[in-house]
């Protein structure tokens, strides 16, 4: 009988404890983020939740997903939420961080009951849809108990389904591994993203562009209130950090072929650089903010479709790269996509077309 290695056992115990703590931490952070009365704290807790999720991805041997989650899921989503909260506060309904309301905007609106102003940012009263606040206590309580019990039933049903799945399951690893020599890259996730399931990625980039178009079509923002004096820490940080971020993005793009990385992670880092620049008050020069910007934004999708179509003559299917050139084609798509994704994410943070903002 083989001697059980006490060191290995200790490692397994440590790993299990870590995973259990991580799971508890994730659930607790999610609950606190959703239940916190203060919206600002809720968003900060959500960003922390995103970073713990990145840790969970690393534990699950998914480093590509960890990079994407940390950059996009925690970082950029958090930035978007913060910007949205700041704009909510600017339009007067919600007290800002100093407790002051923006009087100019409050005057313009029709009268709002003061109780609602407090409710926007404070107590998360569970308000069941369609039930006015004047209904008696028992009705609301009964509905809440019903909702909770239904959710518990759903949770147990889903949990049972998950637990009844086989312990060992042969996924598509062998199928992917069998075709890696024809994919043009060494990283299986990049091969799946850009080659085997390239159609999904093409549509995903179109979705990102579509979200930007939707945001732009919703009209321009109200003029930003007069900004305070430039913050030295932010300026120095941005001056030092933006070139480093561009370098890191270029590295992630290049490394995506053989190591964790890729176009989306690199594009997210570029997007973060763009967000930092926007925070300092920098805006695109007017002559670049119209056609050149739109060309760069669309370039990702256009390049992908172009490469997909150029593989057609020669009797191939759409998106079926010729194996000798597959690596170069993937790198070309990823390079254009990185720039396009980065600028799209920064533009989503800005929230309105730069030209519209300039016109005000």
């Amino acid at each position: 009988m083989a001697q059980r290695d006490p060191c290995m056992e200790a490692m397994t115990l440590v790993a299990w404890t870590f995973d259990a703590l991580l799971g508890v931490g994730l659930s607790w952070l999610a609950w606190r983020a959703l239940a916190c009365p203060d919206l600002f704290k809720a968003i900060v807790l959500f960003i922390a939740f995103g970073l713990l999720m990145a840790l969970a991805w690393v534990r699950l041997e998914a480093p590509d997903v960890a990079l994407a989650e940390a950059a996009i899921g925690a970082g950029l989503t958090g930035a978007l939420l913060m910007a949205a909260l700041a704009r909510l506060r600017d339009t007067g309904g919600v007290p800002n961080a100093l407790g002051k309301r923006n009087r100019a905007f409050t005057m313009r609106r029709t009268a709002t009951p003061t109780t609602d102003e407090r409710r926007d940012d404070r107590l998360p009263e569970p308000s069941p849809p369609g039930s006015p606040a004047t209904r008696g206590r028992p009705g609301v309580k009964a509905f809440r108990w019903l909702a909770l019990s239904l959710l518990l039933a759903l949770a147990s049903g889903l949990g049972y389904t998950v637990l009844s799945l086989p312990d060992q399951a042969q996924g598509l690893q062998s199928a992917v591994a069998g075709h890696m020599d024809r994919s043009g890259v060494l990283n299986p996730v990049t091969a799946v993203l850009l080659n085997f399931r390239g159609y999904d990625t093409l549509l995903e980039m179109a979705v990102l562009l579509l979200a930007l178009l939707g945001t732009w079509s919703l009209g321009s923002l109200p003029p930003a209130r007069a900004e305070s004096a430039p913050v030295p820490v932010l300026d120095t940080l941005v001056r030092g950090l933006v070139p480093v971020l561009v370098l890191v993005a270029a590295y992630l793009l290049w490394a995506g072929a053989h190591a964790p990385g890729g176009a989306f992670q690199a594009g997210a880092v570029l997007g973060a650089a763009g967000v930092l620049l926007l925070l300092t008050g920098w805006r695109l020069p007017r002559r670049l903010a119209r056609r050149p910007l739109r060309i760069v934004l669309a370039a990702g999708v256009v390049a992908f479709v172009g490469v997909a179509v150029v593989a057609l003559p020669g009797g191939r299917q759409l998106l079926e790269y010729p194996p000798p050139q597959a690596g170069i084609l993937i790198l070309l798509i990823e390079a254009v996509a990185t720039v396009s994704i980065g600028i799209t994410l920064a533009a989503l943070f800005l929230g309105a077309a730069p030209a519209d903002e300039l016109d005000q």
């Binding site: 699950l60 989503t77 609106r109 909770l148 637990l163 995903e204 930007l212």
Partner: protein
């Protein structure tokens, strides 16, 4: 029960937490947070179950799908936040108007 199922159960818990918050809170920003948490829960289930192969590396196809999902989630969040901004500009409150009160 191996480690993958622990994370998958945490994912199920996150989906239900997010669903509860989506139903319970009226503020649109909270609803958007809830949907993001639900999305993270679904991704956890997908990636956790992809690691059931034993000694072989995990299945890369769910990883690619989750990366796609993260990008789509941020796009949807950005659009939803713009819509919330318009609702707030139109009605003065970051909540959808309650039908019974009109």
């Amino acid at each position: 029960m191996s480690i993958e199922f622990l994370y998958a159960l945490v994912g199920v818990g996150l989906v239900c937490l997010g669903l509860h918050a989506l139903i319970a809170y009226a503020h649109l920003l909270r609803k958007i947070l809830a949907i993001n948490v639900m999305g993270s829960g679904v991704f956890l289930v997908l990636v956790a179950l992809a690691r059931r192969g034993g000694d072989v590396p995990p299945d890369p196809v769910p990883h690619a799908m989750v990366i796609t999902g993260i990008v789509v989630a941020v796009s949807a969040t950005a659009l939803a936040l713009s819509l919330m901004r318009k609702v707030n500009a139109a009605t003065g409150r970051a909540e959808l108007p309650d039908q019974d009160r009109d």
